[in-house]
């Protein structure tokens, strides 16, 4: 395998199946399609010279769908001499939880992957960002609902862009150092993290995880905010649009609409547009720590309740500009066009 460029693939078969399907008509994303996405990524990677793909084992029909598509395509690929990377599954015990992803990342680092493609929602991206070495470029593709961080992209193109970075033909022009929110708990400054938003809320239990009841949310901190986003960060996006490149974040205190200074109409989740009251908006600078007003409730990270807390707990959030390194697919393809990297046949 020496000399061959290897790209890692983490495709979370469990994303896209939470309570929002029940309460807000959220979309479904089946694992057959996720398997097909991995196939299309491989086609894109192969087109620019990636010879090896190292993938986390993915159950729930995802790998089966990929394998069937590969098998069905194999004769034509061979006859037409089209490139296709070798596919290797990491040998590991599969537990069907986040520990799988953490183990797979460490194995990918150990094997020296040149980039990692991540298929999942905000939760999957967050776990990868938290556990992955800082300098491995990530390409995060959305396969869930309500995602603020991973992008909805055609996998073939994402595969080409990632391949161009992995093979060294495109570098800094297409790489972006993302912001990350470090979440401290009772003095442990690195207790957890979020890529886009942290929300203090009065839901006492982690329960079904997704945070979908607006009345429960009292305070949010965001690293970036787009007015055209769906989810918690869209509250911030409607108040003070903050790009992924902006060197600051926002801290917002919410209030019941009837008591609030400002009331916004917010698409809080797919299929859920609600009034949200806002009392205070402040920019936060990198390194500065924001102490959240703790009460009995929980802290949601990127839209999912993760940490159950009581009034005695101290929760602080710090904006860190040195988050994960990601591949900007649009920038990579623009650069490929400018330099003619895809001119000529495969």
């Amino acid at each position: 395998m020496s000399g061959a460029v290897t790209v890692g693939v983490i495709a979370n078969p469990a994303s896209g199946r939470d309570i929002r399907r029940l309460v807000s008509g959220a979309s479904v994303f089946d694992n057959g399609e996720k398997g097909n996405m991995v196939y299309r990524l491989m086609v894109g990677l192969a087109a620019v010279g990636v010879e090896h793909v190292l993938m986390m084992p993915a159950a729930s029909g995802l790998y089966d769908s990929l394998e069937r598509t590969l098998r069905a395509a194999a004769p034509a690929i061979a006859a037409e001499h089209r490139p296709m990377p070798d596919l290797e599954l990491i040998e590991m015990k599969v537990r069907h939880n986040a520990r799988d992803t953490i183990y797979a990342i460490s194995e990918m680092e150990h094997r020296g992957v040149a980039a990692i493609l991540v298929l999942g929602g905000d939760g999957t991206s967050r776990i990868v960002a938290r556990h992955c070495a800082r300098d491995i470029p990530l390409c995060t593709l959305s396969t869930g609902t309500n995602n603020a961080f991973p992008e909805m992209r055609e996998a073939t193109v994402a595969g080409i862009a990632t391949g161009l970075v992995a093979t060294g033909r495109i570098g800094d022009e297409a790489l972006r150092r993302e912001k990350i929110l470090r979440v401290g708990l009772n003095g442990d400054a690195h207790h957890d993290c979020a890529l886009v938003d942290v929300a203090m809320n009065s839901e006492r239990f982690v329960g079904a995880r997704a945070l979908w009841r607006p009345r429960e949310i009292s305070e949010i901190v965001v690293s970036s905010a787009r007015p055209d986003a769906v989810g918690l960060s869209s509250i911030a996006g409607l108040l003070d649009p903050t790009s992924r490149d902006a060197p600051h974040g926002l801290h917002i205190r919410l209030a019941p609409p009837e008591d609030a200074e400002i009331v916004l109409t917010v698409p809080l989740a797919p299929g859920l547009v609600v009034p949200i009251g806002v009392n205070e908006v402040n920019r936060i600078e990198p390194g500065a720590s924001v102490e959240l007003t703790a009460g009995v409730g929980s802290v949601a990270l990127d839209g999912e309740r993760e940490i159950e807390i009581s009034a005695a707990d101290e929760v602080e959030v710090r904006l860190d500009l040195a988050g994960p390194l990601t591949i900007d697919v649009s920038a990579a393809m623009r650069e490929a066009a400018r330099r003619g990297l895809l001119n000529g046949s495969l």
Binding site: I19, L22, S60, G61, F205, G207, A208, R213, E308, S310
Partner: protein
Amino acid sequence: MTEVAGAKELSKEELLDAYRTMRTIRDFEERLHEEFATGEIPGFVHLYAGEEAIAAGFMAHLDEDDYIASTHRGHGHAIAKGCDPKAMMFEIYGKQDGLCHGKGGSMHIADLDKGMLGANGIVGGGPPLVCGVGLSARTRGTNQVAVSFTGDGGANQGTVFESLNLASAWDLPCIFVIENNGYAEATAQAFSSKGIDIAKRADGFSMPGVVVDGHDFFAVYEAAGEAIRRAREGGGPSMIECKVNRYFGHFEGDAQTYRAANEVEEVRKEKDCLMLFRRRVTSAGLVKESELDQIDEEVKNYIDECVREAKAAPEPTPEHLVTDVYASY
């Protein structure tokens, strides 16, 4: 936003009730595990220990006149739906004063007065039953709902697919719960199905499918509340898959050679629903340890009493053979 059923904060009394239900099921099953080994109990028993949060989380939203259809692993569903544990214990011992006069045993416990349509020896047998009562409720214009429980093995039965289709086509107020404990008898799920997430099959029947952690009472309670509310309000059927582990074998006496040596031990240590519930409600300051300890003590004594009385109770006599043969409506 209007307050919805699943959203309501549980009162202290409701939390204590949920804990009592889970503790009663656990002690009932742990005790049967011991007693079955003595050879005194006729027939087969399939124990629900480890899965208590599912029964407690769903049944906390159901009224007495809502329906459930259970499985061969039915003790937990029956207890949570309000069946009398003592009458159940009598039934399992085959005694005349059992819930079904000792004629049903573990696998056929039913109590129509409580909306419990029965444990069921037919794998995948519950979903068609809830379609029936769901249609009945809809036809009569009540707001009753019907909940079926099925295992990951049962989920592959044709009856389940037919029921999903029927419930969807007719917008029946049915909730199909899949208790995915990873094994259909001794067959690991990955050997019998391409998909680990059974809830995804709901997509094909145009109904919502949600996955929750079946060890977490609060996760089950929240999802169950929303699915049940949806069904009551005319939103039609849903499927909720609860990922869970069973503590004992498929049936009592199962050597479980298909499981890793420390598998159950790990689950008991990390995911025990009673332990998780206790830790969370006490650290949230909602309930005191001593209040839960008291429930533990009361339940332990009660289960002792159930077993003691069941053992001493009279058997059905030969003339009972010809009673209860036909049902009248």
